[in-house]
């Protein structure tokens, strides 16, 4: 029923690291929730089911907990229903996870021969005899990546995460998505092991695409939680890039490089868990105080909510992959593993990998812009609404949750070697050579890339020197004893007011304009002009909404198609109100005819004849003449 190998244990640790601070935070958040019993019940069931997925050792238990996880998280989104948007988001989320579940179901049913209690290793044997392994791979990818939120199955994230209560968003984004990554690890290694090159390239490209799409849509958001949700897409993309590289290297029999890339992916998984949880918690704290998710209504919160501001800053630095944070280290590893591929002679790889490098580099730059926006608009400057003005620091329980999560982030930063050693054991458990000694050949100070003439980074030295130099300068500043004076910000002689600040929309303006071809934004400009002057106006209001392109072309059309079909089916079905005898007549005719044609002696001529007979009969007996 259950297994506890290193891979499972690592992910158990991940869940616990994500969940324990969250429990504190959640208890602090509880007074904010009306249906407490409902919430508590599903909250703990959710954590429990995630653990269940991780440690399950056969398909039946896995699928059971997987669905339980979807079910509870769906109910958690519905904890505080505030209008249509929550309901829509919850519905969308649930159908998407169910969609993924279908593929997982197909996958498991194929590889288990219907015997759902067999172990994963027994599945491997069955899978190896299956004629279309790529089909299995596609099922797996669709199943897990719809949960993880990779493009093009990512659309639900920016809807579902903002609507859930903040502790739940933190859990969903920080931890639940990782369960899907666990699934990738578990089943690609345990069941579908030798991978063709194409699979790795597919994962790599999906990752690159997700990373770009995620960060681009994050930039255009002004709902803080939706922004963070979009960043989850980006980070899942980054994890997948690492994962894909690992698969590619493995196919090319570069085992150590492959392990390195996988460790990078795993490391980033942990990092994303830590900082994304923290970000959602901080965002939740702000939401808790200001009662709005709209960033345009924040501002100046650093003065009243210093703890939240500090934790958010740490997480923002980490997610923007700025040295020496843990986010930086894992992205560095992923970069290094991609660059180690320069000597590989394979054209498709040579095209795919530079693209992925480019995507990752591009992502980094945009992520920084995005988090400057998120942090700056939220915490700095003057408050933009009365709600923000009255915000206070949240209660100690929530604070403790955030601080604990900050400690997790910092521990990932400080004890990188320890974590890497641990991740390394996962792959030793999967019959690979340990590469810890190659990554840290001389103590914990320098972290080496595995590739030929790869780079080296020394996270602790970087951290120490940064802190050291800054402290030194601060010390010098104290010594100088500089005279200071406090005065209002200069605003060209006008009074400094919250309204003159840059807004989140304005901040992202240039980038949005650059990517206009992608966003195709809806712009609303309302302007009260004075006496017909174009340039003189008493008030103006500008809003931009970006609807994701994928949603527009993909999901909306599917919805339209279903609507259309159901309309026709509905019309057809209503014939039976008056024409039931004719319906039975025709179904008899077609069944008997088909039995005659197919079961006795098949020939195309009779088949065509049957077709025409049926057409005529349906026309005469059911549809009838037009009046």
């Amino acid at each position: 029923m259950f297994q506890f190998d290193t891979l499972s244990l690592i992910f158990v640790a991940l869940i616990l690291l994500g969940a324990i601070p969250n429990i504190f935070y959640s208890s602090g958040y509880l007074p904010h929730i009306q249906r407490k019993l409902h919430y508590q019940l599903h909250y703990f069931a959710f954590i429990f089911s995630m653990l269940g997925v991780i440690v399950s050792a056969n398909a039946l238990v896995f699928l059971f907990f997987w669905e339980l996880m979807s079910l509870t998280s769906w109910q958690l989104i519905l904890t505080n229903v505030q209008g249509k948007s929550t309901i829509k988001a919850a519905r969308f989320y649930f159908i998407m996870t169910h969609f993924g579940f279908l593929f997982l179901l197909l996958f498991f049913l194929i590889v288990s021969d219907g015997e759902l209690e067999i172990s994963f290793s027994a599945m491997k044997l069955i899978a190896s005899h299956f004629t279309y392994p790529t089909l299995l791979f596609f099922f797996l990818v669709l199943g897990f990546l719809s949960k993880a939120g990779a493009v093009p199955l990512h659309v639900w994230l920016p809807y579902a995460h903002p609507e859930a209560p903040s502790p739940v968003s933190a859990l969903m984004s920080g931890v639940m998505l990782k369960v899907a990554i666990y699934g990738m690890f578990r089943f690609l290694f345990d069941v579908l092991y030798p991978w063709p090159l194409e699979w790795g390239i597919l994962i790599l490209s999906l990752g690159a695409l997700s990373a770009l799409v995620g960060v681009l849509y994050a930039l255009s958001e002004h709902d803080i939680k939706a922004l963070l949700a979009n960043h989850s897409i980006e980070n899942i993309g980054i994890i997948l890039i690492g994962f894909g590289m690992g698969m590619i290297f493995d196919t090319l029999h570069l085992k150590t490089l492959s392990t390195f890339a996988f460790i990078a992916a795993l490391f980033h998984t942990f990092n994303h868990m830590s900082f994304k949880s923290l970000l959602f918690m901080s965002a939740g704290a702000i939401l808790h105080q200001t009662h709005t998710k709209n960033m345009e209504k924040y501002g100046g919160l650093i003065k009243t909510m210093p703890v939240t501001a500090f934790t958010f800053l740490i997480a923002a630095i980490s997610i923007s992959a700025l040295p020496p944070s843990n986010g930086f280290l894992s992205e560095w590893m992923i970069f290094q593993s991609m660059l180690s591929s320069s000597h590989i002679d394979n054209t498709s790889l040579k095209l795919a990998i530079p693209f992925a490098i480019f995507a990752l580099a591009m992502t980094g730059g945009l992520a920084i812009a995005c988090f400057v926006k998120a942090y700056g608009i939220t915490f700095l400057g003057l408050h933009r609404s009365t709600n923000a003005k009255h915000a206070k620091e949240v209660n100690p329980l929530m604070q403790s949750g955030m601080i604990m999560m900050t400690l997790v982030v910092l521990s990932l930063m400080l004890f990188t070697p320890f974590y890497i050693q641990w991740f390394d054991k996962v792959f030793v458990g999967l019959h690979r050579a340990s590469i810890y000694a190659q990554i840290f050949p001389d103590g914990i100070w320098n972290m080496h890339s595995i590739g030929i003439s790869g780079g080296i980074v020394s996270p602790l030295i970087l951290l120490l020197s940064l802190v050291g130099i800054t402290a030194l300068m601060l010390f010098a500043y104290r010594i100088f004893n500089v005279k200071t004076r406090v005065h209002h910000t200069w605003a060209c002689g006008y009074k400094t007011s919250p309204k003159t600040q840059y807004s989140a929309t304005g901040f992202a303006g240039p980038i949005r304009r650059f990517f206009n071809w992608l966003y195709k934004p809806e712009e609303h400009l309302v302007k009260q002009t004075i006496a017909g002057h174009k340039s003189k106006f008493s008030s103006s209001h500008y809003e931009v909404h970006v609807k994701p392109l994928f949603e527009k072309i993909f999901y909306d059309n599917i919805a339209k198609f279903i609507n259309y079909t159901s309309y026709w089916v509905y019309r057809l079905a209503h014939f039976e109100q008056t024409r039931y005898a004719a319906m039975i007549f025709n179904i008899m005719l077609v069944v008997l005819f088909s039995y005659r044609v197919f079961a006795h002696d098949f020939s195309w001529a009779t088949f065509v004849l049957e077709f025409f007979v049926m057409m005529i009969s349906v026309k005469i007996l059911i549809i009838g003449d037009k009046k």
């Binding site: 005898a581 039975i584 007549f585 008997l592 005819f593 005659r596 006795h600 007979v613 005469i620 007996l621």
Partner: protein
């Protein structure tokens, strides 16, 4: 003799399809049932099967006389619409009837290789089934639909008699019992108010 009676059975059913008056329809149904009963008597006689002879007698009594009589009574009591025009155009119907016959013979063609005697009887029974369905299709009123349903019953009796040389007694009695039950229910349904379906 058997073939002749079967021919008459089919003919009465086909004529019923083109009828436009309710009483005429009842008459044709009664003829149809009569043929069935006679058929049972003939086959039962030739096979020396008492059960089948009993079936034949019961068929004639219940189906050829009893049911048409009850239905006629009901129709007078509840003022049925007696002018019943088929909804399917006659032009179509005259094409459909032969088409159904051709189809059923085509359908049962493989059976002729498998069982030697009764393949055509199976075909005719199936076509009778289809024709009875057609009867139900072409009328909107309740009464002809009931006739159609009863003709279906006849069709399967035909099958039972000709193709299998009679079903077990128990089953046949059960079927009659159910038929009576059906009539009771129909009676009850009519009892409250007469309504067009």
């Amino acid at each position: 003799m058997v073939d002749f009676l079967i021919g008459l059975f089919l003919a009465s059913l086909i004529v019923a399809l083109f009828t436009t008056r309710l009483y005429r329809l009842l008459l044709w149904y009664s003829m149809n049932s009569l043929m069935l009963g006679l058929l049972a008597l003939v086959i039962g006689d030739s096979l020396d099967d008492n059960a089948m002879i009993l079936t034949g007698v019961m068929t004639i009594l219940i189906k050829a006389i009893g049911i048409p009589y009850i239905l006629k009574n009901l129709s007078q009591k509840f003022h049925f619409v007696r002018q019943i025009t088929p909804k399917i155009k006659v032009q179509y119907a005259i094409m459909l009837v032969p088409a159904i016959l051709v189809f059923t013979f085509y359908l049962s063609e493989p059976i002729t290789h498998m069982m030697h005697t009764h393949a055509n009887y199976v075909a005719i029974s199936i076509s009778a089934l289809f024709l009875a369905l057609l009867l139900m299709i072409e009328h909107r009123n309740v009464a002809p639909k009931i006739i159609g349903f009863l003709s279906m019953e006849n069709a399967l009796f035909l099958l039972g008699i000709t193709a299998t040389n009679g079903m077990p007694m128990l089953v046949e009695l059960g079927i009659f019992f159910d038929l009576l039950m059906a009539i009771v229910v129909i009676n009850l349904l009519f009892h409250k108010e007469e309504l067009q379906v």
